[in-house]
């Protein structure tokens, strides 16, 4: 784990009248993290991000970014942050190029044509750089949002649902870009997303919040360690496989069975052991399919599941 703390939040609280949107939240994001910020709708994710970006004043609590106070060292801090807050909105009557030029100048970025075109190329909008943003689709605006967040080469990138509205290919491209920015460029990424699979794939650390409060925080591995996962084994001889399972210790982990599939609830280590056991007993296992572990975990933590 990296030692340098990029975001430090202590006891952050925001109340709108009688509604407590964020309640005594603590957060730690370290340099180089791809930090997943998870929570169901209305959990307080966007409110937290808005407070981090000083769009909303906290009711109480302390926030430090790069070890400095947002209110006292705003200029220095914000020159090192790139962000998309909720959906990226632009000056619709201006072209993508002009939008980037204006927003880049506000961040003190290099706004030469070469640099802006580089950014537009990175997000695949170079051919539409002259078009007014009002002619853009939601996905294109999302890409342009990323371009404006990256234009001034920030150290910390805060992304609030960056893949919303993108097609699967677009989502993958954004995921790859985030991984590239983290691994190759050493950027710290604060990623809020409701797509758990996405966070599971790219986040190094994460926090799950619910009803404004943090439920758990840690690395994805730490959080899922010891967690049982529902796993589907596709087998050739289902009756024989069931007989073998019922005569073994694996009977306790059995969940259900269908025509050619048996479902178990297993830890990650047990998946390999059961697979080996079935093969040794002459059962041909054609596939082992785990149900998304983080999704299960998330639903249990946020009490939103039906299980």
């Amino acid at each position: 784990m990296n030692s340098e703390q990029v975001i430090e939040v202590r006891g952050l609280t925001k109340k709108f009248g009688s509604l407590t949107a964020v309640n005594n939240l603590d957060l730690n994001v370290y340099s180089g993290d791809v930090f997943g910020f998870l929570g169901p709708n209305g959990a307080g994710k966007s409110t937290t991000i808005r407070m981090l970006l000083s769009l909303i004043k906290p009711t109480s609590g302390e926030m430090k970014i790069f070890g400095k106070s947002i209110t006292k060292d705003r200029k220095e801090i914000f020159s090192k942050i790139g962000a998309i807050v909720e959906k990226p909105d632009f000056y619709l009557y201006l072209s993508a190029y002009k939008n980037l030029e204006i927003l880049g100048k506000l961040s003190g970025a290099d706004t030469s044509k070469k640099k802006i075109m580089e950014m537009l190329e990175l997000v695949g909008l170079e051919k539409r750089y002259k078009s007014k943003v009002k002619t853009y689709s939601h996905g294109m605006k999302q890409r342009l949002g990323l371009a404006q967040a990256l234009l001034h080469d920030p150290e910390l990138i805060i992304l609030d649902e960056p893949t919303t509205g993108l097609d699967p290919q677009g989502m993958k491209e954004i995921r790859d870009l985030i991984i590239y920015l983290s691994r190759e460029k050493g950027k710290t990424i604060f990623l809020s997303s409701h797509i758990l699979h996405e966070v599971e794939l790219i986040a190094t650390r994460m926090i799950i919040i619910s009803k404004g409060s943090a439920q758990v925080e840690g690395t994805v591995e730490e959080l899922l360690k010891g967690e049982k996962v529902v796993v589907t084994f596709e087998v050739d001889k289902i009756e024989e496989a069931m007989r073998i399972v019922n005569e073994s210790k694996w009977k306790e982990d059995f969940k259900s069975a269908s025509k050619s599939e048996i479902n178990f609830e297993l830890t990650k280590n047990d998946i390999a052991l059961l697979n080996k056991y079935l093969i040794e007993k002459g059962i041909l296992v054609s596939a082992v399919v785990p149900v998304r572990s983080l999704e299960d975990y998330f639903l249990r933590i946020t009490e939103g599941g039906t299980k």
């Binding site: 808005r50 970006l53 000083s54 769009l55 909303i56 004043k57 705003r74 200029k75 220095e76 914000f78 020159s79 942050i81 962000a83 807050v85 909720e86 959906k87 990226p88 909105d89 632009f90 000056y91 619709l92 009557y93 201006l94 002009k98 204006i102 927003l103 100048k105 506000l106 961040s107 003190g108 404006q148």
Partner: protein, 279 residues
């Protein structure tokens, strides 16, 4: 700060609504000039009818200065309504578009952002008045020539010599700049509360209309409060065409309007800095 102001101006002048005022003034000034070109001489005869037996007037009385003042008097009342179209959108336009989230997550502070908006607004007023000055004064001088200025002050006729006019026009336009800056400041103030431009435009217009009506009601109470209504001070630009010029009155109105601008700017800045951006 200069970058911020420049960017605000770029955004402003890439919106078509910014040009409504310029187009309207251009249209009206030209229409008035054309109408006066063909029928305006009769107006001078009409205004001189009571004194033409006693005085002999020589020179070009129906000249560019006369037309410029006529246009200024005719249009200056309506310019506030053109100005608020721009001012009412300055802050609320960002809320409508959702661009506050982009704008306010940059290194510039909210104080700098709102100050840049105010300065850009005042610059737009300046440009509109420069446009008005160009059309009403310069074009009129080119079309109608120069000469002394006849200025009717109630029952009094003041004739201002040709070489004593230009500075009066410049001062009148400068005063108008302060008057109109007060108006745009009020519209920016209203603009800081809402998420669309219609509200601030309507609210500013309502304030101006209400204050003008109150000033005109011949009841003691309203006449008592009249000196405290900013609309009452906006027409002091015409004082520069008196002889002698009553500087006390002019400066009293000037300070009053400037105080309005400073207070409105201060309150708007305070509200904007404290505001939660939820759009």
């Amino acid at each position: 700060m200069i970058t911020l102001i420049w960017l605000e101006l770029q955004k402003m002048f890439r919106k078509w609504r910014t040009y409504i005022g310029f187009i309207a003034i251009g249209f009206l000034a030209v229409v008035v000039q054309v109408a006066l070109y063909f029928t305006g001489a009769k107006m001078i005869d009409f205004q001189m009818r009571g004194i033409e037996q006693s005085f002999v007037m020589v020179g070009n009385l129906f000249n560019g200065y006369f037309i410029a003042r006529f246009i200024l008097m005719a249009l200056i009342i309506h310019i506030p309504f053109l100005i608020v179209i721009v001012g009412g959108d300055l802050l609320s336009g960002e809320a409508t578009a959702g661009t506050y989230r982009m704008l306010l997550t940059r290194p510039a502070s909210r104080f700098q952002v709102v100050t840049a908006k105010f300065i850009a607004g005042w610059i737009s007023v300046l440009l509109l008045l420069v446009w008005l000055m160009f059309l009403s004064l310069i074009v009129s001088l080119l079309l109608f020539g120069s000469g002394p200025l006849l200025s009717f002050q109630g029952m009094k006729l003041v004739i201002i010599a040709q070489n004593d006019i230009l500075w009066r026009f410049l001062c009148a336009y400068l005063f108008a700049l302060i008057s109109m800056s007060t108006v745009i400041s009020i519209s920016i103030f209203f603009s800081s509360f809402v998420q669309n431009a219609i509200g601030p435009i309507a609210a500013t217009m309502a304030v101006i209309i209400i204050f003008i009506i109150l000033s005109a009601i011949p009841i003691d109470f309203f006449q008592t409060i009249k000196p405290y209504l900013f609309t009452n001070h906006m027409s002091q630009w015409d004082g520069f065409f008196s002889d002698p010029v009553d500087y006390n009155d002019i400066f009293r109105s000037l300070w009053f309007l400037l105080a309005h601008i400073v207070v409105i700017y201060g309150i708007t800045t305070y509200i904007f800095i404290k505001k939660d951006i939820l759009s």
